[in-house]
């Protein structure tokens, strides 16, 4: 056996390499799949907030009408409710008690807040003064409590032991003393699960105006469990399990989905207290599970074409090799060994080579998976689980079966055919059954892809199927075409080209070489295309989602404070952005920006926003009407007839809307005269300048106003104020024909004709009653107007000055408008998301901005860079699966190289004999050499180009069905355009590499084309 293997080392090596590739594909798939799953778990757990990856259980004492201190399960009892095997996945639990610690307001108490005890609480705060509480009734207060509320160590506070609502008015509450033994400062980090301990000392409570809030007091468990006193109000016991992330893999995560049912545990179910279980782990597990389901299909589908390609090449090589052993089979048959003996002769030589190849193949898969696992995020290691063994056994069975079938095929050849010297290989147009079946199968499947009948991950199979279809057809066409072409050239005496084509037509391996090269090139081209398209789409989605290279969310809604901080930074690439996202699925999000800064900071893809958008949404050049002082007066002349529905005269009151520090307020000046002149006046709180937003007319609902008044001699504290030209005032206009039309200017005349509304306003143009906005194409717009949310959350009209495909950092339905226009009469509501967008994610730059904001008391609640968002897209099963395509492409190219080498090795003797015949027949040696080198190049070129086209067609059909994202981004940025440069480069690489191999093989055959070859054939 070994001698036989050693005799044809090249063939044995080819078999071993192909077997290794097939094995590697089969074994790698489950290993990589598992590594991806584990990596996904690590990523999801790392990305999730600490509270979502923790298990928090809490029970709160319930009290009825009469206050009865409730007995609630202790934290230890809660721990026992968690199954032991699940507890193992968490770190040691943090046990705690919490209760209300309010002073009694009936006896002059002023403090309200909470007191808590936690396992090793003092280890997770900084003791600033004093010591850690050691016994019941001792507390630590925060440094702010000490500073703001004067709670110094050594003092005591007396807190109520019952809620005030359970004790009749007039009676004092039962009380308990708590001794202050020290002060603490919180330590930033996850230790308190992001539950703030401080930040509200001295602020008023919402319920009892006389109480001010103290911060969280830290105490001992004994304070809560002391049976000698009544329990404190609102007593809660809790336990917090923090996930031991290193211990949790995909299997454990699946198990943790049972936590969703933990609230049904007996200890929680039987208590009279209110149980609460919080964990985000089941949701994370569900999210992971959906991607894992995809990966189970994706990875095999990506590797299957490569594996099948390797198997097909192995089969072709086995056919060639077994055909080369026909003489040896004849020897066995002539010595009476029969079919079985002949088969044994072949299998004892070939099977060891194939099985030996499986060993390095499996090892390569292990090493590859180990490297891949290291490249993946998280701590995913190599896990050899039952599916791996199953794959290994399966692939070994396939390899053995393939070898046996190939051996039997030759061993069963009739002896008379074996002893014949001439080849029995048929050439020409005879369609073999297997090829016919393959052609039909590929054709039907390809048609299914084209018509959209097949979709999803199965799309990964499309390029290989297309290529196989094209390759097979091409293989069948090339032989007769090459022969016909060769004969035609021969008639024209173009001997060189003719002999090359005739040589190709004679080649026994032409069909298989063409098919394999076509499929391999298609896989390579498709892989390049898929990887680059996926990368581009992830990038586009990340840029869309991020909005800017770096976005800092801030806790304040004071844009002025942000402006002051950013002035210090002095960089045009940083700008504030206010996002208002109204509730509801179809709501339109408002993105309020400063156009100039936004253009520099935001990631705006070319062509997405309409040309001139910045100017279009910028405020008009009208100056505001500023008033500074305390007394506003105006002379009104003319007259207004004001009557109600019954024609009774009513008042029409002239007023003003003023805005100071973005807070709007209204003042009535007085009733308009029916005729003549009147001097109207009102007090205004405008020591600091106010902007005059609008002139208002108010009357009774349903009343009619008709007349004309002129406003003159407007003054504040006696100083004249110019109202400006009438063009700077937007009149009132209603659909029923009512209107207030301004005219003139200093004095300003208002022509009034209204019926019905009780209040109308003429707005000063600086405030822009109608904001200019760029709306996304997903937003429905009527007559270029729509209602948008102002930064105060209130609806306001907007004029659409342009449409955008999408807006950076905004959902599908969104408008882009000017921040200053929106905030002239409004302040951002608490629901508004105020952020600072940076045009660079450079760490130093981000830090500089953060420091500047901090210097102006603007707290940054989160910092998110484009890289962070991109990482979110990159770290997913679809991404890792597509990246596997690179490996597939490279391996496919390697298989093609191997195929050429095998074809050369197996057919070199016949080709060398042909070349020697040409030489002896009078063709110059140099010409023969050129023929040998160039003979395969046309075939290779045709196959590679056909493969490239197949890959592109396969891409075009399948890319839209291939999952590029774990979850489809809300805003569609899909762009499946072919990266022509890269695809072209990949095709050229295939062409050059395979052409070079073909040329080298031809050269090697030529060197052996001597007279000895001719003797062999005698």
């Amino acid at each position: 056996m070994w001698r036989a293997l050693g005799y044809r080392k090249g063939q044995a090596a080819a078999l071993a390499v192909l077997a290794a590739l097939v094995t590697a594909c089969a074994v790698f798939a489950p290993l990589y799949d598992r590594a991806m799953q584990q990596a996904l778990v690590d990523v999801k757990l790392d990305q999730a907030p600490v509270l979502d990856t923790a298990l928090r259980m809490q029970v709160q004492a319930l009290s009825g009408d009469g206050y009865v201190p409730a007995h609630i399960p202790a934290p230890d009892d809660l721990v026992a409710a968690v199954p032991t095997d699940i507890r193992h996945d968490f770190r040691a639990p943090t046990l705690g008690w919490t209760a209300t610690a309010d002073e009694d307001p009936r006896v002059g108490g002023t403090l309200a807040g909470q007191v808590t005890s936690r396992t090793a609480a003092c280890d997770h705060v900084r003791i600033v003064s004093g010591r850690c509480p050691a016994k019941a009734g001792e507390i630590l207060v925060s440094t702010q409590d000490q500073k703001v509320l004067g709670l110094n160590p050594g003092k005591s506070v007396t807190v109520a032991e019952q809620p005030a609502e359970h004790v009749p008015d007039g009676q004092p509450l039962p009380q308990r003393e708590l001794a202050i033994v020290g002060t603490y400062a919180p330590i930033a980090g996850d230790d308190w699960f992001h539950e703030p301990l401080t930040g509200w000392a001295g602020s008023s409570t919402e319920t009892v105006p006389s109480l001010v809030r103290h911060e969280m007091w830290l105490s001992t468990d004994a304070t809560f469990t002391d049976t000698t006193t009544s329990p404190l109000p609102d007593l809660r016991s809790s336990v917090l399990f923090r996930l031991a992330k290193g211990r949790v893999g995909i299997d454990q995560l699946r198990k943790l989905t049972t936590l969703a049912g933990l609230s049904g545990a007996p200890v929680l179910r039987e208590t009279t207290a209110l149980p609460e279980v919080h964990t985000g782990l089941p949701a994370i597990a569900t999210s992971v599970a959906s991607q894992v389901d995809d990966s189970r299909v994706l990875v095999p589908l990506i590797l299957l074409p490569l594996g099948v390609l390797c198997l097909v090449v192995l089969w072709l090589v086995l056919l060639t090799i077994t055909d080369l052993r026909r003489t040896e089979v004849a020897v066995a048959r002539l010595r009476g060994q029969g079919v079985r003996g002949a088969r044994r002769l072949l299998t004892t030589e070939l099977l060891p080579a194939v099985l030996l190849g499986a060993v390095p193949g499996a090892l390569a898969a292990l090493v590859g998976a180990w490297l891949a696992a290291r490249a993946l995020p998280g701590d995913a290691g190599l896990e050899v689980r039952p599916p791996v063994w199953l794959a290994l056994v399966g692939v070994l069975l396939v390899l053995v079966a393939t070898t046996l079938v190939a051996a039997v095929r030759v061993a069963r050849t009739p002896v008379d055919a074996l002893v014949r010297r001439s080849s029995t290989v048929r050439r020409g147009w005879r369609l073999r059954v297997l090829d016919a079946v393959l052609l039909t199968g590929c054709g039907v499947t390809a048609a299914a892809f084209v018509t959209g009948s097949l979709s999803g991950p199965f799309a990964y199979a499309a390029p290989a199927l297309f290529a196989l279809l094209v390759g097979l057809v091409l293989a069948y066409l090339l032989t007769p075409l090459a022969a016909a072409g060769g004969r035609a050239l021969l008639r024209r005496r173009a001997t060189g080209g003719a002999l090359g084509l005739l040589d190709a037509a004679r080649s026994q391996s032409l069909r298989s070489t063409v098919t394999v090269l076509t499929v391999a090139t298609a896989l390579t081209v498709f892989s390049v295309d898929a990887v680059l398209v996926a990368d581009r789409n992830r990038d586009a989605a990340a840029r869309q989602e991020a909005g800017a290279p770096a976005v800092l969310d801030v806790s304040t809604t004071d844009v002025g404070a942000i402006d002051e901080a950013l002035q210090e930074v002095g960089d045009p690439r940083v700008t504030p952005v206010v996002t208002i996202q109204p509730p509801g699925a179809g709501a339109v999000t408002t993105l309020a920006v400063r156009p100039e800064g936004f253009a520099k900071a935001a990631l705006i893809p070319p062509g997405v926003l309409p040309a001139g958008w910045a100017k279009a949404i910028s405020p008009s050049g009208v100056d505001p009407v500023d008033v500074t002082g305390r007394h506003l007066s105006v002379t009104v002349s003319g007259g207004v007839s004001a009557v109600d529905l019954r024609a009774n005269p009513v008042e029409a009151v002239l007023g003003v809307d003023l805005v100071t520090n973005r807070l709007a307020f209204h003042r009535d000046l007085g009733p308009l005269p029916a005729s003549g002149t009147a001097r109207l006046a009102t007090a205004i709180p405008c020591d600091k300048t106010c902007h005059l937003e609008a002139l208002t007319l108010t009357t009774t609902v349903g009343a009619s106003l008709v007349g004309e008044v002129t406003l003159d001699r407007v003054a504040v504290d006696g100083k004249p104020v110019s109202l400006g030209a009438s063009q700077t005032w937007a009149g009132y206009d209603d659909p029923d024909g009512g209107a207030v039309v301004p005219s003139g200017g200093d004095p300003l005349t208002l022509t009034i004709r209204t019926q019905g509304p009780d209040a109308v306003a003429v707005t000063q143009a600086w405030f822009g009653t109608t904001a200019a906005a760029v709306a996304t194409k997903g937003t429905s717009v009527t007559d270029k107007t729509l209602s948008i949310s102002g930064i105060d959350g209130k609806s306001r009209p907007a004029t659409v000055v342009g449409r955008a495909d999408r807006l950076p950092g905004a959902p599908v339905r969104a408008v882009l408008t000017d921040l200053d226009v929106l905030q002239r009469a409004a302040r951002p509501s608490s629901d508004a998301r105020v952020s600072v967008w940076l045009g660079s994610s450079d760490h130093a730059f981000v830090e500089r901005v953060e420091h500047a904001l901090a210097d102006h008391d603007v707290a940054v609640t989160s910092t998110r860079t484009l890289a962070d968002v991109r990482r979110g897209y990159d770290q997913s099963i679809p991404t890792w699966s597509v990246q596997l395509g690179v490996l597939t492409g490279l391996a496919a190219l390697g298989v093609a190289v191997l195929m050429l080498a095998v074809a050369a090795v197996s057919g070199w003797r016949v080709r060398a004999r042909d070349l020697a015949s040409l030489w002896v027949g009078g063709v110059p040696r140099r010409t023969v050499g050129r023929l040998a080198v160039a003979a395969q190049l046309p075939t290779i070129a045709v196959a590679v180009l056909a493969g490239a086209v197949s890959g592109l067609v396969g891409s075009a059909v399948s890319m839209s069905a291939i999952p590029l994202f774990a979850e489809t981004p809300e805003v569609d940025t899909l762009d499946l355009a072919t990266p022509w440069l890269a695809v072209g480069a990949a095709t050229v690489v295939c062409l050059v590499l395979l052409g070079a191999i073909g040329a080298v093989a031809g050269r090697a055959v030529f060197r052996r084309a001597d007279l000895d070859r001719l003797k062999e054939g005698a």
Binding site: R3, A4, G6, Y7, R8, T327, E328, A330, V331, A332, R333, L334, R335, G336, Q337, G338, G341, V415, D416, V419, A1018
Partner: protein, 277 residues
């Protein structure tokens, strides 16, 4: 060991090719006595190799019967023929390399050739003993690439003799050999024939080889065209009464010539009829 008797009766073999059939043998009657050493002569395409393959059970005859020993090959099953080839009938194909496993030494080749026979329980000689019979002992374990063409042919002969067959069929065993190697191969064949009584039938083009053989049969146009015994050439009357003319007579009697047979004193004369054009 005794040689096997070989006989054929009205043996016909037709090659069926696409579009047309070719009759390679058209009624061959042949009788080879046990232990006989004989040669098949004839021009290329006459059907010699076809006859050899038929005798070895490689081809099935289109018509007629073949008896090898007690076995009627034309009626034997594949298994019976395999068994016969394993133990009793050895065929050596033209070109020594076609009879040998290229990666195995002569000894291993002999051992391989005995594998099937060994399963039948037949008493077999050691490979070295077989190789000694053909004078190849010193190269028993040498790679085939180290052997001369003559030694390769001897190795092929040893492989054929490995199961101690009763019938050895050798197709052109001396082609492409120099005189020395040729004589050595012939000597070994004769030695085996003499020592073990093996019936030996060989095909040759070589007149020297033919002269060496006690009996030769010439196959011409798919029929037995003549027989030579101890240097004397005979025409052979076929079972259906045909008498092929010797080659040198054919020039004088072209096809279409009318002849008369005259019997005079126990002798036959063939007299061409004069034609009047």
């Amino acid at each position: 060991m005794t040689g096997l008797r070989v006989s054929t009766h009205g043996l016909v073999h037709i090659y069926r090719a696409e579009g047309h059939d070719v009759a390679a043998l058209s009624g061959v009657d042949l009788h080879v006595a046990p232990g006989e050493l004989m040669g098949l002569l004839g021009p290329s395409g006459a059907g010699k190799s076809t006859l050899m393959n038929l005798l070895a059970g490689v081809f099935r005859p289109s018509a007629g019967k073949i008896h090898v020993g007690d076995t009627e090959l034309s009626a034997a099953t594949t298994r019976e023929i395999d068994r016969l080839r394993a133990t009793e009938v050895s065929l050596t194909l033209q070109g020594a390399a076609r009879n040998l496993l290229p990666y195995a030494s002569p000894a291993d080749n002999v051992r391989f050739a005995q594998r099937a026979a060994r399963t039948t329980g037949k008493d077999l000689p050691e490979p070295l003993e077989v190789l000694a019979d053909v004078g190849l002992t010193k190269d028993a374990d040498a790679p085939l690439s180290a052997l001369t063409p003559g030694e390769l042919q001897l190795a092929a002969l040893a492989v054929a003799l490995a199961p101690r067959p009763g019938l050895l069929l050798a197709d052109e065993p001396t082609s492409q050999l120099d005189h020395g190697a040729r004589d050595r191969v012939l000597d070994q064949l004769a030695s085996v024939n003499e020592s073990y009584g093996t019936t030996v039938v060989l095909v040759t083009h070589d007149p020297h080889v033919a002269a060496f053989l006690p009996r030769t049969i010439t196959i011409r146009d798919g029929r037995v065209g003549g027989e030579g015994r101890s240097g004397e050439e005979y025409a052979v009357v076929t079972a259906d009464g045909f008498l092929p003319l010797p080659a040198h007579v054919r020039d004088d009697l072209p096809p279409g010539t009318l002849v008369r047979f005259h019997q005079t004193d126990g002798r036959y004369e063939i007299v061409p009829e004069e034609t009047h054009d």
